[in-house]
């Protein structure tokens, strides 16, 4: 017997609640519902265990597809890319850009790369000092200018410095910005124009709910990014934000942040994410 429309509705209703409570954005949940419904429409499945398995399978395969976007092999890109390879970090206020940059700097330098950091958040109180502490602890050079300097100039300065010293990676920290702030979006556009980053990463906060979708869409539309770092997944959250962002901009998640220490940056793993959402 095919799964009855009414029973499927009830099950999808329960599923909707679970996904919403896991911080999957509303519009993404609707997409998932539609796809699972489509997948199961008229299928010859017995209600009960078989139906439950079919629904879980449809759900898992959809999520897997959304999250399995062409992954970026950072090591390969570094080897094949320009020298120095420049990575630009963008995101809204407090999402974890500076901390993620420090973690990635640590990881890359452990892997034998010469890393230079550009302190291009020239606005926020203590932003440059925050990076200088990281630089000191990691033994990595931080290129900075004075507070209020042009962020694009600092980024450019760092790239020049790296070229001279034959450092192969430059990580560029930027100020937090709301995607709704046109001036700050223009500022970020200027940084991109001046530096032509080899890789642009959007740093998203896994504590966020539906706004993640707005942020990701606008940052991608206005600035464009190649991949995502999702932070604070060590907090008491399921991490549905991963699904939200992947599903609206179709960009791969490179790393997840799992704490405030330098080793708390893990390459994104789909099975790990699925296990978390289905836990």
């Amino acid at each position: 017997t095919a799964i009855k429309e009414k029973t499927l509705d009830d099950v999808l209703g329960d599923l909707e609640i679970v996904l919403l409570e896991s911080d999957v954005a509303f519009e993404v949940v609707q997409k998932i519902q539609a796809r699972v419904r489509e997948e199961l429409k008229g299928k010859k499945i017995k209600w009960g265990e078989e139906a439950s398995a079919a629904i879980e399978h449809a759900l898992r395969s959809y999520i897997r597809t959304e999250l399995s976007l062409k992954p970026i092999d950072l090591e390969k890109s570094l080897a094949a890319g320009p020298k120095p390879y420049t990575i630009l970090f963008l995101g809204v206020n407090g999402s974890g850009k500076t901390t993620s940059l420090a973690k990635l700097a640590h990881r890359l330098s452990k892997q034998g790369h010469g890393v230079v950091i550009a302190a291009a958040d020239t606005f926020r109180a203590g932003a440059i000092e925050q990076l200088e502490v990281h630089g000191e602890r990691l033994g990595i050079r931080v290129v900075r200018q004075k507070e209020g300097a042009d962020p694009a100039a600092v980024a450019f300065d760092a790239v020049q410095h790296a070229s001279k010293r034959h450092s192969d990676v430059v990580l560029i920290d930027t100020a937090g910005r709301q995607h709704t702030n046109e001036n700050l979006i223009e500022e970020a556009k200027k940084i991109r124009r001046v530096v032509h980053p080899s890789l642009t990463l959007f740093v998203g906060d896994a504590l966020s709910g539906n706004d993640m979708v707005e942020q990701a869409k606008l940052f991608n539309k206005e600035l464009g990014f190649d991949g995502v770092i999702l932070t604070k997944l060590d907090a008491d959250v399921k991490g549905g934000a991963a699904l939200s962002v992947a599903s609206v901009v179709h960009k791969p998640i490179l790393f997840v942040g799992l704490g405030q220490g330098y080793d708390d940056l893990k390459p994104f793993d789909i099975d790990w994410m699925l296990a978390r959402i289905f836990a």
Binding site: G94, G126, T180, L207, E214, D236
Partner: protein, 284 residues
């Protein structure tokens, strides 16, 4: 006998509820609440209550059904948020707590400016011993708003800094204690915030909450409330696109009112919380 006029008048007065229309409007309200990050269970409860009130048929004649239902949900939300009481400006000890990156340190600076503008001198105490350059960040803000500042670089016990800061601040100052971002379920960090509270004896404990926070808002507010007792909530980053629906649960779980909202990164971008504005923005 009945006049045609009286029959027509009777028909005009009656308003049978169109269940399909109610369901349609309720579904819209649900979507608005969920997209605004209101806690899922709370959103479902709210819309259930709205539907019940609608089906009870107490719609005033002539009222558009949609407008009526919106007004009903508006009243339900206001009931959760409580009435806005005027904020008392006098010297007090205020402790700021919250998750990572919510805007505590920035808000500390804004509150200092707010108090100074109202004629109460303020001292900012830097008790975040975890985050790199957190002390520098708060010190720079204190200079910007011309407030007093206390730090004890090298002291690794936050509660010692809290106690020293309280003792060193001039008599009659408002003292603002900035603490490190923390998970509400980390036993060590919760123990630290409890020790800070014991040492500082704040008259106000304010939860700083990012308007973009998702479903964790209610749970974490409940945990902070249980640990240190919240007396107020400050909702930040409302200058973005986030609606701040998580604040409803934060209030519901702690009984603490939303006192202020942050509307930007500058020290003057702090406003008194206004229920009407918040709710109409929440409902889109």
């Amino acid at each position: 006998g009945k006049s045609l006029r009286s029959i027509l008048a009777k028909i005009a007065k009656s308003s049978t509820i169109d269940a399909a229309l109610v369901d349609e409007v309720v579904k819209d309200l649900q979507r608005a609440l969920l997209q605004a990050d209101v806690n899922v269970q709370l959103a479902l409860d709210l819309t259930k209550r709205v539907r019940t009130r609608a089906m009870e048929g107490k719609i005033p004649t002539g009222a558009n059904l949609r407008d009526y239902l919106v007004r009903v949900i508006y009243e339900e939300i206001c009931a959760i948020l409580g009435t806005t009481k005027p904020y008392a400006i006098k010297p007090k000890r205020i402790m700021l707590v919250g998750l990572f990156g919510q805007g505590k340190t920035t808000t500390a600076g804004k509150l200092a400016r707010y108090y100074q503008k109202k004629g109460v001198h303020t001292t900012l105490v830097a008790a975040d011993i975890h985050r790199p350059a957190a002390v520098d960040q708060l010190e720079q803000l204190s200079k910007k708003v011309h407030a007093g500042f206390y730090a004890h670089r090298g002291e690794l016990r936050a509660e010692v800094i809290a106690r020293e800061g309280r003792a060193s601040a001039p008599q009659g100052d408002t003292i603002l204690l900035d603490t490190a971002g923390r998970s509400a379920i980390d036993p060590d960090l919760i123990a630290e915030i409890k020790r800070c509270k014991q040492a500082f004896e704040p008259e106000e404990v304010l939860l700083v909450l990012d308007a973009a926070m998702g479903q964790l808002a209610g749970r974490s507010a409940a945990a902070f409330h249980e640990a240190v007792g919240l007396t107020g909530v400050i909702l930040t980053k409302l200058d973005g696109s986030a609606k701040g629906g998580g604040a409803l649960s934060a209030v519901a779980q702690s009984g603490a009112p939303i006192l202020f909202v942050g509307t930007g990164e500058h020290m003057d971008e702090l406003e008194h919380f206004e229920t009407t504005r918040f709710v109409s923005r929440l409902l889109g």
